[in-house]
């Protein structure tokens, strides 16, 4: 297999993972108006809980329950949901920027914990030997295709679930109170309850998909869960079109292909360092370009929900 093809498979797999994250972010931020900067933290909670509960090879940690993989995914999801509940209840009562600050701080606290709780997380060394699902079915070189299929299957499932929510009366209410909370409350809507439910759902989902990220990278270390993950997800959503339906997927594909293309250039070690930083310059340029030409993103909310009245029969 040619190097270019292998590279492309990797990029498309990673794009799929970011598409999933951007879709979840779209639910909580695009529709419900909760500007979450703690994506990396929720991912870390899900990822670490998954790896700690399921890994079989590292026995120098204090907790090794050796759970089956499905139980680990479930545990990671529940942990993500619980974390969202714990940060959501105090910070969603006060609005807007407090939520932003709290989630950002939460992600940093989680990262620091993952470094310092070495007896549980193996510190900065982390976990690097674990089995992945269906790994025994194929050769190591064929496994990248399995993972590609698995990731894009999850993209499809998440897309349909989120679309179902977005087009329901529940989603309509979120998009309403996002722009005008007092009017929603004056109609008898418990907007805070809806916000907390939505954030917990986002936490459950981030926690559940964190293992995909772990399987792709093949290690679990604190450096995996820096705010870079949060900001790449945000950029993908903004480029694709915040509050739209297909935007998060489109944005993730374009963003990942454009930024990863820089690593295609062959060069010396010094060159590689330069190219690594070029990625962020490219990311910034893409963002500026889209904001300049199409500020609402490539897809948009208006088109995504146009003709809603036609879908009700009768």
């Amino acid at each position: 297999m040619s190097g270019l093809l292998l590279f492309l498979v990797g990029v498309v797999t990673l794009a799929g993972i970011y598409a999933i994250l951007a879709m979840i972010l779209n639910l909580e931020a695009g529709w419900a108006g909760m500007w979450d900067l703690g994506i990396a933290g929720l991912l870390a909670v899900g990822g670490y809980v998954f790896i700690i509960t399921t890994q079989q090879t590292h026995d120098d940690v204090i907790l090794t329950p050796h759970w089956p993989m499905w139980a680990g995914v479930l545990a990671g999801s529940v942990a993500g949901g619980l974390a969202a509940l714990i940060i959501g209840i105090p910070s969603l009562r006060v609005r807007g920027e407090y939520f932003l600050i709290t989630t950002l701080a939460f992600a940093e606290v989680i990262r620091q914990l993952s470094i310092n709780l070495g007896s549980l997380t193996r510190g900065t060394v982390g976990f690097n030997q674990f089995t992945r699902p269906f790994e025994s079915w194929t050769s190591p070189s064929g496994y990248r295709w399995v993972l590609l299929g698995l990731v894009w299957l999850v993209v499809a499932v998440v897309y349909f679930v989120i679309r179902r929510l977005g087009r329901s009366p529940y989603g309509r209410l979120l998009r309403g109170f996002r722009d005008n909370d007092p009017v929603a409350r004056s109609l008898g809507k418990q907007t805070n309850r809806h916000r907390i439910q939505t954030f917990v759902l986002a936490g459950l989902m981030y926690g559940a998909v964190a293992p995909l990220y772990v399987w792709f990278i093949r290690t679990v270390t604190p450096s995996l869960f820096t705010s870079e993950a949060t900001f790449v997800t945000w950029t993908a959503l903004v480029i694709g079109g915040i509050a739209s339906l297909r935007g998060p997927v489109i944005g993730a594909i374009i963003l990942l292909i454009v930024t990863e293309a820089a690593s295609l250039v062959q060069g010396s070690g010094d060159m590689a360092v330069v190219l690594a930083s070029v990625r962020f310059i490219v990311l910034g340029l893409v963002l500026i370009l889209v904001m300049r030409v199409r500020p609402q993103g490539l897809a948009n909310e208006r088109d995504a929900f146009a003709g809603a009245s036609e879908r009700v029969a009768g």
């Binding site: 009366p169 309509r172 722009d179 007092p182 929603a184 004056s186 109609l187 439910q197 009245s309």
Partner: protein, 253 residues
């Protein structure tokens, strides 16, 4: 005389050192159109905020249908049938006209996350759609149902605003300056809509600057100035009241 639907008793609201509302008592008869007029800073909106739970009164009580609702959260007050509008900003700008009305008319049950997952909201949606369609047809806005609220003229926005709050089936509506920013042609339409609402046994309490508009539709008028009610009576009595002419009409007209 029957018991009032809304009874405000000795309401005082102090912000910092400023008394916005001072010992105001006001009762609204069921089925009436009652107006509160007064210059800027008279305390009209503060009184509304207190009545609907958006502000807690410093002193006094709010009774709705004989029940003490003082200090209840706004959504609880709303579910008892006391629904208000806001002067600005109005409504859900990113939703279409139709979606705005649907949010107003959809029950808590049909809006739950659980029902959204199961997709078990379609029958409720059809019923609400019938009502939304009727309301929009009556307003002459059915053809514009898919227009986003943000793209509508200010006059039409106010009509949609009113229609959306009515979708929640209130027993009483509090309208905060419904005619502000509305062109003269639409004001007439708005007045008709308010009168029609009363026909359906919804009590109306309205505050506005536009004296002509308010006096044309109200049965009972309260005049506020500097946080106090300075005159009450029928529109005819109020315009003849020398204190009102001095304090309100004399100065700002």
């Amino acid at each position: 005389m029957t018991a009032p639907i809304l009874d405000l008793r000795d309401i005082t609201k102090v912000f910092g050192g400023v008394t916005a509302v001072r010992e105001v008592s006001m009762s609204v008869q069921a089925g009436s159109i009652t107006a509160v007029i007064g210059p800027n800073g008279a305390g009209k909106t503060s009184l509304f905020n207190v009545a609907t739970g958006f502000e807690e009164p410093t002193e006094g009580h709010v009774l709705f249908q004989g029940e003490d609702v003082t200090g209840l959260e706004p959504w609880r007050v709303a579910r008892k049938g006391l629904i208000r509008t806001f002067q600005t900003p109005t409504g859900f700008p990113a939703l279409s006209v139709w979606e705005n009305l649907m949010v107003g008319g959809t029950s808590d049950r049909d809006e739950s996350l659980w029902r959204a997952m199961r997709g078990a909201w379609h029958s409720g949606e059809r019923t609400t759609n019938q009502r939304a369609r009727q309301a929009l047809t009556d307003l002459g806005l059915w053809d514009r149902r898919d227009t986003l609220l943000a793209d509508l003229s200010p006059g039409d926005v106010k009509l949609v605003d009113f229609a959306r709050q009515l979708m929640a089936e209130p027993k009483m509506v509090l309208l905060d300056e419904p005619a502000s920013g509305v062109d003269p042609a639409s004001i007439g339409r708005l007045g008709n809509v308010i009168r029609q609402v009363r026909e359906q046994n919804v009590t109306v309490l309205v505050i506005d600057h536009n004296i002509g508009f308010v006096l044309g539709i109200a049965d009972q008028v309260h005049v506020m100035s500097l946080g106090e009610v300075i005159a009450s009576g029928s529109p005819d009595d109020v315009v003849r009241d020398p204190v009102v002419i001095e304090i309100y009409l004399g100065r700002s007209a």
